[in-house]
Symmetry: D3
Subunit: 170 residues, 6 copies
Amino acid sequence: MSSLPSKTPQQTEVIMTELVLPNDTNMLNNLLGGRLMHWIDIAAALAARRHAGRICVTASVDEISFDKPLHLGDVIKLYACVNRAFRTSMEVGVKTTRVEDDGEVVANTAYLTFVALDDDRKPMPVAALIPQTEDEKRRFDEAGMRREARLRHRENIHTLREQLHSSHGE
Amino acid sequence: MSSLPSKTPQQTEVIMTELVLPNDTNMLNNLLGGRLMHWIDIAAALAARRHAGRICVTASVDEISFDKPLHLGDVIKLYACVNRAFRTSMEVGVKTTRVEDDGEVVANTAYLTFVALDDDRKPMPVAALIPQTEDEKRRFDEAGMRREARLRHRENIHTLREQLHSSHGE
Amino acid sequence: MSSLPSKTPQQTEVIMTELVLPNDTNMLNNLLGGRLMHWIDIAAALAARRHAGRICVTASVDEISFDKPLHLGDVIKLYACVNRAFRTSMEVGVKTTRVEDDGEVVANTAYLTFVALDDDRKPMPVAALIPQTEDEKRRFDEAGMRREARLRHRENIHTLREQLHSSHGE
Amino acid sequence: MSSLPSKTPQQTEVIMTELVLPNDTNMLNNLLGGRLMHWIDIAAALAARRHAGRICVTASVDEISFDKPLHLGDVIKLYACVNRAFRTSMEVGVKTTRVEDDGEVVANTAYLTFVALDDDRKPMPVAALIPQTEDEKRRFDEAGMRREARLRHRENIHTLREQLHSSHGE
Amino acid sequence: MSSLPSKTPQQTEVIMTELVLPNDTNMLNNLLGGRLMHWIDIAAALAARRHAGRICVTASVDEISFDKPLHLGDVIKLYACVNRAFRTSMEVGVKTTRVEDDGEVVANTAYLTFVALDDDRKPMPVAALIPQTEDEKRRFDEAGMRREARLRHRENIHTLREQLHSSHGE
Amino acid sequence: MSSLPSKTPQQTEVIMTELVLPNDTNMLNNLLGGRLMHWIDIAAALAARRHAGRICVTASVDEISFDKPLHLGDVIKLYACVNRAFRTSMEVGVKTTRVEDDGEVVANTAYLTFVALDDDRKPMPVAALIPQTEDEKRRFDEAGMRREARLRHRENIHTLREQLHSSHGE
C-alpha cells in the first residue's frame, strides 16, 4: 500500500445527473445499454481519480445489472464512490437512480475496477481507503468478496481449460 | 425450454469492424471504455437477436476485462456469439481484437446476459442452443460456471447483509 | 402566483459532473462554448422541472460569462438552482466549476429563464419559491434586478427603434 | 483601437443552414435549446473570426431569446454578423429563422461577445467596424446600449453585494 | 413534367457554413470523408426540397471528388443548387470551399440525385427548372451529360454481365 | 506497379454490422443518407488499408445508389472489398445489406476510389491485386469500365467547357 494519505469513501463521491434524450435511446425508446455504460464508466473513472489523484483507466467491468428499464425523458442520477482500494487497483461502485417527483428509484448497480497510471502509464500504488460508516464498511467487505469470487472463478476456468487441453493431448 | 427450433452458436455470430476515431478517445488518445462497451453491447444484442428472432435487451454485463489498451487509429473487430441459452435468457460472449498487419491480437473479452421480449415487452422463452465444436462446448460449459458463480456470489452477499441487519437489531 | 405548495431553492438543486473529452473541444483543446451551453441548458431545465413538477422549456438565456477557459481533460461540475419564480417563469442560476485536487474554481456563471408547460404546451403558473438562507435571498433579489434591467433595456431599444422609424417617416 | 484596416458589418456575415434531425430534439420533438446555442456559438465565432482575422473565443452570451419553438424536420437558417467592435472585443448578433415555403420567420435573436486571441492566447486589439446602412447603424447603436446596460447592471449587483457584506459586518 | 410553377436554379440555393472540429476529423487531423458526405447530403436534400416543396430522399450519389484535403479548424462553405429537374428526380450540385482570409478555395464538387416523395412516400413529379444564366445553362447541360453517361455505363455493365452468364451457360 | 507482394480481393475484405438507431435517422425514421455514407467510407477505407498496408484517403465517391430504404431498427451489414488496384489508387466496392430473419437483402452498392499515403502524405504505389474467382474477375473488369467511363465523361465535360469559353470569346 502506498504511503499517500488515506481517504474516506465519501471524499471520492461523484454525482452525475443526466436527461435521457432521443440520441440516447433505442427503437423501443429505452435508454441504450451502451450509453448508460458510458455514463457509468465516466462517473466511476472520476471517483477513482478523486481517490488516486491521477488519471485512472478501466481494468474491468465486474458486474452491471439492469433492474429497471430507463426511458426517453427520464432524469437519472449516478452516484459513484470508491468501495475499496487494493495495491494499484480500486473497486468503484456506481448506483443509478431514476428521479421521480417524490424521490429516487434505484435502476441499476455497477461495480468496476480501475487502475491509476504513473507518468509512464504504468500502474502505480494508490492510497488506502478507510471506510467510516456502517454502509461504507459493508461495501468494503463486499468488494473483497467480489474480488475473491472473481479470482476463484478464474481459477476454475483455468482448471477446466487445462483439463480440456490434457484430454486432447495438447 | 421453448419448442422453437434449436440453433448452433455459429448461426448467431455477429462481426463488427470499427476504426477508433478522435471522437472515441479520451485525453490519453485511448479508446474510451464506455465507447467500447457501447460497441460490445450492440454486437451482443444483435447476436442475441439472431438467436431469439426477437428484439433483446441487456439484463446484465457479467464481465468485461480490458487486457490491452486500444488507441486512436486502431482498427478493431468484435466477434459476438451466443454461448448458452437458458429459459428466457442467453449468455453472449464478445471477443474484441486489434487488427495488425500480420493478424489480430485479442484485446478484450466480455460476457453479457440478454433477455428476449415478447410483444408486451415481457421476457419470453428462447430456443435451445446446441454447441457443435469443441470450442463451442467449452464456452457452453464456462457459461454455466459463470452463472453458478454469480448465483453463489449473490447468495453470499445476501447472507452477509442478513448478518449485518440482525447484528444491528434491524 | 399558483396555489401549488411553495418550494425552497435547495429543493430545486441539480448537480452534474462532466469530463471534457476530445469530442467536446475546439482546435485549441478548449471546451466548446456551445457544448458548455448545452450542459448548462440541461442542468437548468432539470432544476426548473424540479420546481415546477412539469417539463420546462428555455425562454431566454439572460447572461453567461466565460471567466476561465476549460480544457481537454478537465473535470467540471455544474450547480443549477431556481433563483426566483415569477408567475409562469423561473430564473435559474447555473454555476460551473473546474474541479482541482484541492477544491473547485468557479469558471462560469449563467442565468436562464424557463417556462413550465401544461398539457397543451401553454405556459402555466408555477409555485412560489421561498428563499431561506442569506445567499438564497441575495440571489432572489438579484434575479429581480436582472429582470428589471432586462425590461428597462427592452424599453430603451423599443424607444430607439420608434425614433428611427419616425425620423425616417415610416 | 487597432491600426488594422476597418471592415463593414457585411464583410463579417456568416450564413448557416441546418436541418433539425432527431439527434437535435428533446422528448417533445422540439429543437434542444443547447443544440441551437451550439449552432449560434459557431456561427458567431466564425463572424468574429472574419472580422478579426484570428481565432476568437466566446467571452459572454449576453442575450438569447427563444421566441418561436423549432421542431423536428424544420429547416433553420442562422445569420451572424459583427454589430460593433470595441477595443479587444466584438458584439456579434445572430438571427435564427425557420424557412417556410413562402419565406422565413424569425425564431430567435442572440447577442454574444467575442475576444480575438494573439499567439499567446491573450486578448488582442481588433480592427474598427464601420456600419454602412441604416440597419447596421441601428445595430451598432444598440450594441453600445447593451454594453452600457450590462456595465450598469454589474455595478448595481456589485453595490448590492457590498451593502450585504457591510450589513453583515463582513 | 409536372404542372407546378417552374423555378430557377437560384431559387433553390442553400448555403451552409461549417467549422471542422475534432469530432469531425480522422487521426491525420483531416476532415472525415463521411462527415463531409453527411453535410453534402443535407445541403443537397434541402436544395431539392426548396425546388420540390416536399421532403426529398437521396436516390444516388453520382460523383464526389475530393480535390483538396480539409483540416481541423478549417471553415468550409457548401453551396447546393438544383442543376436540372427530370420527371420525378433532380440533380443537385454541391460545391464545397475552404474559406481563407482572402477568399475561398474550391475543395470538392459533388453531384447527387434526389427524388421527391408524395404522402404515400412514392416518387412524385416535380416542377420544371429553367436555367437563367450562362453558368446555370452549362450546369443544366452537364447534368444531362452525366445522366446519359450513367445510363450508357449501366447498359455496358449489363451487357458484360449477360455475356458472362451466357458464356457460363447460366 | 509497386514491387510489393500482390494480394487477392478476399484478403482485403472488411465486414461491418450496424444497428440503425434513432441517432441515425431522419424525420421519416429512415436511415440518413449521410450516415450510411459515413459507414461506407469507413468500411472502404479499411479495405483499402488492408490492401495497401498504409492509411488511405478517399479520392472520390464514384457511385452510390440507394435502392432500398433502410429504417430505424434495421440491422445492416456492409461488405467492403478492393476490386482493382491501379498505380497509386484502388477501387473499393461496398455492398450494404439489410439482415432479415431468413437472409440478407441488398440495399445499396457503392464504388469509391482510395489513395495510399506515404510518410509525407504523398500518394504512393500500391501492390497488385490479382482476382481469383469468376466474381472477383467480373468486379475487376467492371472497375476498369467505370474508370474508363469516368475519364471519357471528364473529357466530354472538358470539351463542353472549352466550347463555351471559346464561343464567349474567353
